[in-house]
C-alpha cells in the first residue's frame, strides 16, 4: 500500500529507515509519531499531543478519524500476527515493509521497559469533560446509538460520546462492546474470558476499561484477590495449567503479537483447549486493545457506571 502514498522509491526507503527524517510532508511526520505512540504506549498520550495535531492543521473531526482508523487497524494487525496469517498471493493487500523483525523487537522491548507501570494520562481529563475532543451529539446515528446504550447499560458510554464526530463508526464500536461482554465459544469459560479482560486492561493501562473489566469479573464469580493476582503476577507458575497457558497467550497477543508462532497454538491444544478458544482469546485481546488505545488517545474519562449489561436479553 505504501507506493500509493509515496510513489518515489527513495522516499519510501527513507521513510522505512526513519519517518522523522524522511522527505514527507510535516503533517505526515507528526502522524507517524502519533502512530508510534498509539501502538506502543497510547496511555502516555496527553492533551498537548492532540493540541500539536491541531496546530499542524487538523480539526477535531480529523483527530477522531485518525484515532478511529488506528483503533480499527490495531485489530487487523493483531488478528494477522496472532493468527499467523500468511501474506496474500500476489500481495494485493499485504504490507511487507522490508525491515527485520529483530530491529522492531529491540525498539519495542525498550519502549515497553521504559514505560514501566505509569498510569494512564487520562487522569488529566477534567471532571467536567468527557474527553479531549469536541463532540456533536446531534446526528441521527448518535441518537440511535445513545438509545441502544441507555437500554443496554443504563448510560451512554463516554467512549461512544467521545467519537461522536465520526458517527459512521458506531456500528463497529457497538459490536465491539457486545463481543467483549462474554466469550463467543463454549471453549472458554466466562471467568477465563473476564480474567483476560482484566489482564489486558491492566497491560494497556486503560483507566477507561478497568472498571468495566473488573465488574464483569466479579459478576461471573471472581473476587478482589483474583483481580490483584492478575495484575501482579499474570505469568506466575501458581495458576492452574490451563489458566497459565491462557494468560500467557493473552499477554503475548497484547504485548508482542508479532512474536506469536504456531508453538503458541500447540501449547494451547496441549493444555486441553481448542482452536475456538484460541480465536476467542485473540479477539478478546485485540478488540479490547483497539478500544483501550482509542480511549487513551482521546483522553476518555471512565464511565459513570461499569458497562455491564442490565440483563442478558438487553
Amino acid at each position: 500500500m505504501l507506493p500509493l502514498l509515496y510513489p518515489d522509491p527513495e522516499t519510501r526507503e527513507a521513510l522505512l529507515a526513519d519517518p522523522q527524517s524522511a522527505p514527507i510532508p510535516a503533517l505526515h511526520r507528526k502522524l507517524f509519531a502519533f502512530a508510534e505512540k498509539f501502538v506502543r504506549g497510547a496511555w502516555t498520550t496527553t492533551r498537548d499531543d492532540l493540541q500539536q495535531l491541531r496546530r499542524a492543521g487538523l480539526a477535531d473531526r480529523d483527530i477522531v478519524q485518525w484515532a478511529t482508523l488506528g483503533s480499527t487497524q490495531s485489530w487487523f494487525t493483531m488478528s494477522a500476527d496472532g493468527g499467523g496469517v500468511p501474506l496474500e498471493d500476489g500481495g494485493p493487500t499485504g504490507a511487507s515493509v522490508g525491515r527485520t523483525r529483530d530491529a522492531y523487537e529491540a525498539t519495542q522491548e525498550g519502549l515497553l521497559a521504559a514505560s514501566g507501570e505509569v498510569s494512564s494520562a487520562t487522569a488529566a481529563t477534567r471532571d467536567d469533560e468527557i474527553a479531549w475532543v469536541e463532540r456533536d451529539e446531534s446526528t441521527e446515528a448518535y441518537r440511535e446509538t445513545a438509545h441502544w446504550a441507555e437500554r443496554r447499560y443504563g448510560c451512554v458510554p463516554n467512549l461512544l460520546r467521545a467519537v461522536s464526530l465520526q458517527p459512521e463508526f458506531y456500528r463497529r464500536h457497538r459490536l465491539a462492546l457486545e463481543l467483549l461482554e462474554a466469550p463467543q465459544s463454549a471453549s472458554l469459560s466466562p471467568l477465563q474470558h473476564a480474567m483476560i479482560r482484566v489482564l489486558v486492561s491492566h497491560l494497556n493501562r486503560s483507566a477507561y476499561s478497568e472498571p468495566t473489566s473488573t465488574a464483569l469479573l466479579l459478576r461471573v464469580g471472581g473476587d478482589p484477590e483474583l483481580i490483584d493476582r492478575l495484575r501482579a503476577e499474570p505469568l506466575s507458575a501458581d495458576w492452574s495449567t490451563i489458566d497459565r497457558v491462557v494468560l500467557a497467550l493473552a499477554t503475548r497477543f497484547a504485548r508482542n503479537a508479532y512474536k506469536v508462532t504456531e508453538k503458541d497454538a500447540i501449547a494451547l491444544r496441549e493444555a486441553g483447549l481448542d482452536d475456538e478458544a484460541y480465536v476467542d482469546i485473540l479477539n478478546t485481546v485485540s478488540i479490547q486493545t483497539s478500544l483501550d488505545r482509542l480511549a487513551n488517545t482521546l483522553g476518555v474519562r471512565p464511565d459513570p457506571v461499569p458497562l455491564v449489561p442490565l440483563s442478558p436479553a438487553a
Partner: protein
C-alpha cells in the same frame, strides 16, 4: 499456513457465508473481479461473531463496499501503514 483451523467458503454457513460473499465483493470492487476474501479475516472464521466484526469493519471503512468515501487531510493508507509498521506487522 495460519496457526489455527479455518472455515473456508465451501464449509461456511449462515452469517459466515454471507460475510465471505460481502468481503469478496468489497475487495473485488477495489482490486478486480474475483478477488477472494483476504487471509486476515479468515483466522476468525471459526467463530461467527468475530468474523462478522471483521466484515462490519470493512463495511464501515468502505461505505458498505461502495468505496465512495472522500479522503480528508488524514490519509487512511498512512494510518493503516503506520499502525502496521509500529506493530511490526508484515502482513
Amino acid at each position: 499456513m495460519a496457526h489455527i483451523r479455518i472455515v473456508d467458503e465451501a464449509e461456511a454457513r449462515g452469517s459466515v457465508a454471507e460475510d465471505y460473499e460481502f468481503l469478496s465483493g468489497s475487495y473485488s470492487k477495489m482490486l478486480g473481479a474475483g478477488t477472494p476474501t483476504p487471509q486476515v479475516y479468515r483466522t476468525n472464521s471459526l467463530l461467527p461473531g468475530y468474523f462478522r466484526f471483521g466484515a462490519v469493519q470493512n463495511r464501515v471503512l468502505t461505505q458498505d463496499g461502495r468505496h465512495e468515501g472522500e479522503e480528508g487531510p488524514v490519509p487512511g493508507i498512512l494510518v493503516m501503514f503506520a499502525i502496521s509498521m509500529y506493530s511490526s506487522c508484515f502482513y
